[in-house]
Amino acid sequence: MSYRLTLAEAESYLRKAARASGLDWGIAEEAGKTARWLAAFDLPGPETMLSHLQNLAGKDYAEYIPQCNLEPWQASGGVLCPVITGAALADRAAIMLKGHPIKLGRTAYPLLLAATLGQAARHYQTVFVTCWSGVRIDCFENGLRIEGKRENLLLAEVDHVCCCREEKSTPQQLPSTRAYSIDAAIFKRIDALAFKTCAPATEESRAGAGAGLTDND
């Protein structure tokens, strides 16, 4: 059974799910945007983000962050987090704008990483390319091109990723604003994770929010 998840909901649920998985709010916001960006191209952003967040739970942020002074970038724990690394890549987009590629070592869910560059492409009005295992994703200001084998798109871990700027490319697909269709069971898991950011109700919270006076008049 499938469930219609609006893009706004995709962003909101995955932001909360990322927060519940231990990421700081600022990084969790990137996770929400990433899930939304992919869902707009009918790519499994919400599901892939969920898989990644489940792997991340309980682990130390420091293990996942890229050491950006190395070539390729590497995580001290062995695997780069695509959300944290994606944010670091977008923050350093100026390097790629100057024509220098950035190479990454072992990385989890590179599709999520590519999506972060999609947002940088929009900001800089350019095209950023992410390549791994025979897959190439070109992210445009408002579009996408995918080449390579689809089964490699969703790989959980790859050894090498390369990111760079591209000037000659044309989009294959434009984003939709329509709701994204997701497996209902997977959505339930996302919902359950996001729900962990909510505080259980107390007598104080129930009493404090209302009118104080009657509202049936």
Partner: protein, 561 residues
């Protein structure tokens, strides 16, 4: 800093820049909580557009039984597209009637349909819209809302109309509405179409235009419904509401904390609303002279404001005090208007500077609203600058030198740095989402559990923490390097960078202080909608009136054939 307005191309008056009030004056909760509707407010810009573009109107379905239950559809036709309010009227036992978001049933429920619904659409919507948050709508719907009858007025109006009599004016005006809406959801909530679906449509790209169109049509539905029930009961004896009296009926709204974080979570939008409003005011203040016609229009609106304040009642001590101050302000303004010449040099600027010295914040902000009234040609175009693409302002400039990031904090966030957050009263509250209703709430940090669920709305406190980290940072010189080591400041760095080009993006007050009043945030937002008669029911819950005195669709628009 304040020389930038996103809509610079719309700015025919560089001379106005010197008259803009700076963010540190404007972005204070006490002032924002004293805002009044203006001619830039979203309800008014919506109705101006519908008229200007010759929209048409039709009540395309009325399937309501003798008791007043059933479905109805109201359609407006624009130059390119049509939109339909789909209304369901229900039999609601009195003991289930509550405006709280925790309610599960309402007198009437609504959705704004994108286009003209088929019978199959209506059947699908009837299974979902009455359930509100528990139902699911689709990409074809732009809003989801509900309303309860005003117990005080509803029965009175039916009793009178069915007996061939008009409602008592005093009773009608003291309430001001037949139905009271609560949440009006849009933008992808509960399955509705995403904001981007409508953001490139001129008629709906402005803030909350779809939601406010639905409310305007809801008002028409409330009148039709009450007259229908009166006719069913009174037969030939029943009468319709007198058109002049009918205008005095708006739509109520009852709203609480759920709305408060919106302004904090949409800094680019808040900036654009504020900049447009301040730019409009600066343009008027910069005028060297006021023509007689403008003075006359001002005086008419001033008289209208005095009348409206006389009709504005509240039982809440905070608002009672504010209304007393506003009444005293209006007296002083009357004396000023009679005593001072409005035809002298820069009369509006002189008037406002006098107001700053002599009036409460309520009076100052009322004066701002009134001063815009004669100058539609000068200010109305600024409504085009009031939407915002929050996705654009989301991006962090990692190459920004930390010296620059610090400079923004130290020049534009002095309000945040000046607070000692170690003092319990300065961090007495925390914002969180309630698991019970998935709605934002404010908790007491030192008296309630749950602070570990705090939402990132303690903006001032977070800015001060980031600033402290910047002061001791010994790593690389860019924002990118700092944020890699300090992900806990990423949210705040994004906001601070945003301030460089959006100086009105932050509320310059402590949102977790013991004495913070959430109703100030609500009033600011609702004034931009165009609401009147703010009537707080607590420090975090307010009732308002919308569209009071506005025309009805069948009066304002041509009939659709």
């Amino acid at each position: 800093m304040t020389d930038t307005i996103d809509c610079a191309a719309n700015n025919p008056m560089p001379a106005a820049a010197a008259y803009r009030r700076p963010p540190e004056v404007v972005m204070r909760l006490a002032r924002m909580g004293s805002f009044h509707q203006t001619r830039l407010s979203f309800m008014r810009s919506l109705l101006r557009r519908l008229k200007r573009e010759n929209w048409c109107f039709k009540r395309s379905l009325w399937a309501i039984d003798q008791q007043g239950f059933g479905r109805a559809v109201y359609t407006v036709y624009g130059p390119e597209r049509a939109y339909s309010l789909v209304a369901f009227s229900h039999d609601l036992p009195a003991d289930m009637r509550s405006d709280r978001v925790i309610a599960t049933a309402w007198d009437a429920t609504f959705t704004l349909f994108d286009g003209i619904p088929t019978e199959a659409d209506l059947d699908r919507l009837e299974l979902n819209v009455p359930r509100q948050e528990a139902g699911r709508i689709s990409d074809s719907e732009l809003s989801l809302s509900r309303a309860n009858r005003s117990v005080r007025l509803w029965q009175h109006v039916i009793d009178r109309l069915s007996a061939g009599l008009q409602p008592e004016r005093v009773q009608l005006e003291s309430v001001g509405y037949l139905v009271r809406t609560t949440a009006v959801y849009g933008s992808g909530k509960f399955g509705a179409a995403d904001r981007l679906t409508i953001s490139d449509r001129p008629e709906l790209s402005g803030p909350f235009q779809a939601e406010l169109l639905s409310v305007w049509l809801t008002r028409a539905f409330s009148i039709d419904l009450v007259e229908h029930i009166a006719r069913a009961r009174g037969g030939d004896q029943a009468v319709a509401i007198d058109p002049e009296l009918r205008r005095r009926i708006g739509v109520g709204n009852s709203t609480g904390l759920g709305m408060a974080p919106f302004l904090v979570n949409h800094p680019a939008l808040l900036n654009n609303w504020m900049m447009a409003r301040e730019e409009a005011f600066a343009r008027v203040r910069s005028l060297p002279r006021a023509e007689n016609e403008a003075i006359e229009i001002f005086k008419q609106h001033f008289a209208g404001a005095r009348f409206n304040v006389s009709q504005w009642h509240s039982e809440h001590p905070i608002q009672i005090e504010k209304l007393e101050a506003l009444n005293a302000d209006l007296e002083k303004m009357t004396a000023y208007i009679e005593g001072e010449s409005l035809s002298d040099d820069h009369p509006w600027d002189r008037f406002y500077r006098w107001a700053e010295e002599n009036l409460s914040l309520e009076g100052q902000e009322q004066l701002l609203s009134l001063m815009l009234e004669p100058y539609g040609e000068l200010v109305d175009d600024l409504t085009r600058c009031m939407d915002a693409d929050e996705h654009v302002s989301f991006f962090i400039d990692g190459s920004m030198p930390l010296s620059r990031l610090r400079e923004i904090v130290e020049t534009q966030c002095r309000w945040a740095l000046g607070v000692d957050y170690e003092q319990p009263e300065n961090r007495a509250r925390f914002w969180y989402t309630s698991a019970e209703k998935l709605e934002p709430r404010v908790g007491e940090r030192f008296h309630e559990p749950g602070a570990e669920y705090e939402l990132p709305l303690a903006i001032g406190c977070d800015i001060k923490h980031m600033h402290a980290a910047l002061l001791v940072w010994e790593g690389g010189p860019t924002t990118a390097e700092f944020l890699l080591a300090h992900p806990e400041h990423r949210h705040t760095a994004r906001r601070v960078q945003n301030l460089a080009s959006r100086p009105y993006a932050e509320i310059q007050d402590n949102l977790i202080a013991a004495d913070m009043l959430p109703i100030d945030i609500l009033r600011c937002k609702l004034s931009f909608f165009g609401a009147t008669k703010f009537d707080p029911r607590s420090d975090r819950w307010v009732r308002i009136c919308m569209y009071q005195d506005a025309p009805y669709p069948h009066e304002w628009l041509e009939p659709a054939v």
